[in-house]
Amino acid sequence: MPLITVNSIIKEYETAHALRGVSMEVKKGEWVNIMGASGSGKSTLLNIIGGLDSATSGDVIIDSVNIEKLSEDELAVFRREKIGIIFQQAHLIPYLTAVENVMIAQYFHSMADESEAKEALQRVGLGQRLSHRPSQLSGGEQQRICIARALINSPELLLADEPTGNLDRENTKMILELLKKLHSEDHFTIVLVTHDHFVSTHGDRILTMEDGHIIRDEPVNDLRS
């Protein structure tokens, strides 16, 4: 049974159609990359899967729960429990240290646990940077805090929207290696939006979008071959 089932999602804005009947499935433990040009609807799709935005029509079923039918409060709880999100912008709280930024996520989930937060930062290679503030860290390091923060509450699903969008190649590689490691060790399900071909060569499957439609669905290995 798939972890995510998207059924004929339509998203209309006043003047435009962002999604025109998108359907897809993601299996548990799968890493799916969504590619496409700007305006193709990939970020909108990701936001709808993540419960940050709602569809005009259609269903999004995650772990047997139709999130389109949940109330605001229920959706917030669902998101907190099941989904971790990484954005292009780190969105870290500037006056808190790295470990405190992770603990904030724990706090909103249940309760803060400093030792667990430190351990999580060590896993993303920031064991030496625990008490640094975001301004004292590089973009790659900030993004690694975001990964630690997204994964600290053991979500079923990790959504990433251009996580390497503003990183250099070195840092991009490092982030991708990290995601690969977490994916293979902890079997997170990952849905990653990118327009970077290098990024899309990691993972299991690539969906290509154009004008609110999925136009291609192919395995990564095929593409490499």
Partner: protein, 334 residues
């Protein structure tokens, strides 16, 4: 599991202790609500009612067995925690055990004695002589506003048959040959000489409750139809006018005396050393002191005393532990 083991398990369980504690509470509250003097009746029952005695003994037994059972765990639980638990539980158990034994074995009595009197303690083989009474009183009493005049502690010297002297005060009690003695109360006993037509017919000390100054007391002399009402009068004043304070001398007190024959006052004096009436003379001389001595033979007294003593250390330590636990509590929330 053997029957012995089963009984031990029940007796040493916290559950039994809680049940017995709850049952006592219910018993005490019921008797307090319906019979009022609950504590006195509980103590009386503890000394003579088997329905109260048996559960109380089981409670004590269960308390000590619980104490032994959890000793090891408590020992490993940290120094302050262990110490406060040890002092409180040990103190309480000692006190309660002592209470039970004391109520059931104590022999007690009180004796009025002046200097030279012999005291016979029924349960002891020997007599004691009150060889010396030191009241600790100041010779001149300034009458204080508070009314508390005993700004001192009286002492009495008891001499046993082997001429060994023992000093006894109000507190702590002195232990003489297994019996505790202490002074419960004291007062003055004016020296009195009674003359009939110039002949001395009666002489001695009359223990009266004249203290605090202002109290009056009555006495009679056997064989004569007179009744005397005596009170201490000031021997002088200190200060003047509104702020004058009366001074009372205890070395040579000034007595106001009134003599009754039946309902009639036949003589009265507002002070002075003697009063004359109907051909009789009553003369006061230097007073002696009387002491109300309490004696008690109680093998359980040390248990209670040390129990209270240990508790007195244990309770503050327990408070300290509670206070410290506020800070040492490791909540994973921050």
């Amino acid at each position: 599991m053997s029957a012995f083991r089963k009984i031990y398990n029940v007796l040493s369980s916290k559950t039994l202790l809680l049940w017995l504690g709850g049952a006592w509470l219910l018993y005490y509250i019921s008797s307090a609500i319906w019979m009022k003097e609950a504590f006195a009746s509980f103590i009386a029952n503890l000394g003579g009612n088997i329905l109260i005695q048996i559960p109380f003994v089981i409670f004590l037994l269960s308390g000590w067995l619980n104490f032994i059972r959890v000793f090891g765990d408590r020992f490993r639980s940290g120094k302050i925690s262990f110490a406060s638990w040890l002092l409180i539980s040990c103190g309480a158990l000692l006190y309660l055990s002592g209470l039970f034994l004391s109520v059931n074995t104590r022999q007690a009595g009180s004796f009025l004695a002046g200097e030279g009197d012999v005291i016979t303690v029924p349960w002891a083989d020997e007599d004691f002589q009150a060889s010396r009474v030191r009241p600790g009183l100041k010779e001149r009493l300034d009458m204080p506003d508070s009314g508390i005049f005993l700004d001192y502690e009286p002492r009495i010297t008891l001499t046993d048959v082997s001429q060994k002297s023992h000093d006894v005060g109000a507190y702590p009690p002195s232990k003489i040959n297994g019996t505790y003695f202490h002074i419960l109360n004291l007062g003055i006993a004016p020296g009195i000489k009674f003359y009939e037509k110039g002949m001395l017919v009666s002489e001695g000390y009359m223990p009266l409750r004249l203290l605090p100054a202002g109290n009056s007391d009555t006495f009679v002399i056997e064989g004569y139809p007179y009744k005397f009402v005596a009170a201490l009068m000031p021997s002088g004043h200190r200060g003047e006018g509104q702020s004058a304070v009366p001074l009372f001398s205890l070395k040579s007190p000034n007595y106001a005396t009134r003599v009754y024959k039946g309902e009639n006052v036949i003589a009265e004096s507002a002070g002075g050393a003697e009063i004359r009436f109907d051909g009789f003379t009553l003369r006061y001389s230097e007073p002696d002191y009387w002491i109300l001595l309490e004696a008690s033979k109680d093998p359980a007294m040390p248990l209670m005393k040390y129990g209270i003593f240990i508790l007195a250390f244990g309770i503050p330590l327990y408070m300290l532990r509670l206070f410290l636990s506020l800070f040492s509590f490791r909540d994973r929330a921050t």
